[in-house]
């Protein structure tokens, strides 16, 4: 299929920037005030990371699993699918991530560590929770388009990458695959839409990949 070389990212973009950002705004309006609830969940996760309890590791993994399953249904299946026919094909991957979070995540230790990728992970998590919602207004869009943890995939994927980088235990890297794939796909979409914040997603990917590859090189 040599003609594939003649395609560019624009050829696969199905919607205009206006349609895309309005979809995010309408999603927010439909779910308000769930954003407050997911923000509080994020804050609770932060607290448990700093002061872990015997049960908190499973609760964090369980919370993330619920959020990924919820995004698969509420965002990909119900919302994004209205303008992107590829979204229903991505939804099962989000469901898989939820399943992996229960299977693998339940056995990990989710806490802030000083060593290794702990600081990088914490930075990513905090930026997804606190800074990401400010991107829309900073880019001159309405605050109604603010993307929050647990409500839209971008901040949720970045936050999850940050949390997994902090988590200790076997096979934790498996929990990075779906969020990283999402970040790369979403970067391509936002980049093609001409949105400067696309670079946030790429930075998250690089911060996650560099330590993992270094660890494997050691």
């Amino acid at each position: 299929m040599s003609e594939w070389w003649t395609y560019s990212a624009e050829d696969f973009l199905l919607f205009s920037p206006r349609t895309y950002w309005r979809m995010i705004e309408r999603h927010n309006e439909a779910l308000w005030p769930a954003q407050l609830l997911t923000f509080l969940l994020g804050a609770a996760i932060l607290l448990w990371l700093i002061r872990p309890r015997p049960w908190s590791h499973r609760v964090i993994a369980g919370t993330l699993a619920v959020l990924w399953a919820w995004l698969a249904w509420s965002f990909l299946w119900e919302r994004y699918a209205t303008i992107n026919w590829a979204a229903p094909y991505v939804a099962p991957l989000f469901a898989l991530q939820a399943f992996l979070l229960l299977l693998i995540g339940g056995r990990l230790r989710w806490e802030v560590g000083r060593a290794g990728q702990g600081p990088v992970g914490l930075t990513l998590f905090l930026s997804a929770l606190v800074l990401h919602p400010l991107v829309a207004p900073l880019m001159g869009r309405s605050l109604r388009g603010a993307e929050t943890f647990g409500i839209t995939p971008d901040p949720t994927a970045i936050a999850t990458i940050g949390l997994v980088l902090m988590a200790a235990g076997r096979r934790s890297w498996l929990l990075l695959v779906v969020p990283l794939a999402w970040c790369i796909g979403s970067w391509a979409t936002l980049y093609t839409l001409g949105a400067p914040e696309s670079w946030l997603l790429l930075v998250a990917v690089l911060l996650a990949i560099i330590p993992v590859t270094r660890r494997h090189a050691d």
Binding site: E3, L14, I83, N84
Partner: protein, 304 residues
């Protein structure tokens, strides 16, 4: 063969003939129309594309804007609307507009089949038809030649059974032109759809002459390179002589260049704006450039 070419040329001159009456849409002026070679049916030479612009999902405000674009399109005498199952919610949004204002009798519904499985073609077509809310399509095209052999069999069978009026194939941006030509030579097609504009002129060499020889109507996609061409030209001054061909904007300059090619039947620019659809439709009005003027136009843009 020359007879069909002459038919095509005659169509160029047949401005505004036999426009079917359209319910609920006023018709101020008679636009330039071409005759479809295989039937002699007249079709206005500017249509409406729907890629990206009409994929607005269930956003009611944006759907209303698309419906307004359709209304202005029909009011200006437009007939051909082009879509595809690849264009997200565009087909559904067309259906929304048609339901809202009533389906004009002049509507020329052009859609595509786009699925790798041949046997699943008919169910995709039926789904598309229900989204548009039309009794049948006027034209179905094999999108980007995907599984074209199987789908063309389906489309020819539908045409033979009276469920479809015209059959075609599409490509864009110069992809697979060799294969495209082979199919044009071997298959009895009513329409072919390719990319053509004042800077992407490859089809002038072989595909447009072949279409004229074979009596196939040519639909032109990406007249504005998805808007990129207009963005690049937006800072530049239109030549003073643009007035001689009745072009008052770059969009009209380019559309007039396209539709004045003798082998071109319909250009299908996409837009989300009523003002733009009016501007595009107005470019059908005479005068259109002759061959010498077309040459001058192309050179002018090339040298900018």
């Amino acid at each position: 063969m020359t007879a069909t070419r002459r038919t095509v040329l005659k169509g160029v001159l047949a401005a505004g003939v036999a426009m079917p009456t359209m319910r609920a849409w006023a018709q101020p002026g008679a636009p330039t129309a071409r005759l479809i070679p295989s039937t002699g049916e007249a079709i206005p030479s500017v249509g409406l594309g729907t890629w990206i612009t009409f994929n607005v999902g269930d956003d009611v405000e944006l759907r209303e804007e698309c419906a307004a674009v359709m209304q202005a399109f029909f009011q200006a005498g437009g007939r051909m609307i082009d879509s595809s199952p690849m264009y997200g919610s565009s087909q559904e949004v067309i259906g929304y507009g048609l339901r809202k204002f009533g389906r004009p009798t002049g509507l020329f519904a052009a859609d595509k089949v786009w699925i790798s499985s041949g046997p699943r073609g008919p169910s995709q077509i039926e789904h598309s038809r229900s989204l548009w809310g039309v009794p049948h399509f006027d034209l179905l095209q094999v999108h980007n030649l995907l599984s074209w052999e199987e789908h063309l069999r389906t489309l020819h069978a539908m045409k033979a059974a009276g469920q479809l009026r015209y059959v075609g194939i599409t490509t864009s941006e110069g992809r697979r032109h060799e294969q495209f030509e082979v199919i044009m030579r071997r298959q009895p097609l009513d329409f072919v759809q390719v990319t053509y504009n004042i800077v992407d002129r490859e089809v002038e060499n072989r595909i447009l002459p072949l279409a004229a020889d074979r009596g196939m109507g040519v639909i032109i996609n990406r007249p504005f390179q998805q808007g990129a061409l207009l963005r690049r030209l937006s800072g530049r001054r239109l030549p003073a002589w643009a007035g001689d061909i009745g072009a008052s904007s770059w969009a009209q300059f380019i559309l007039k260049f396209i539709i004045s090619h003798p082998a071109v039947m319909v250009a299908i620019p996409a837009t989300s704006q009523v003002a733009h659809v009016r501007e595009n439709m107005a470019s059908m009005a005479t005068p259109l450039p002759d061959a010498a003027m077309r040459q001058r136009m192309a050179v002018y843009v090339r040298d900018l």
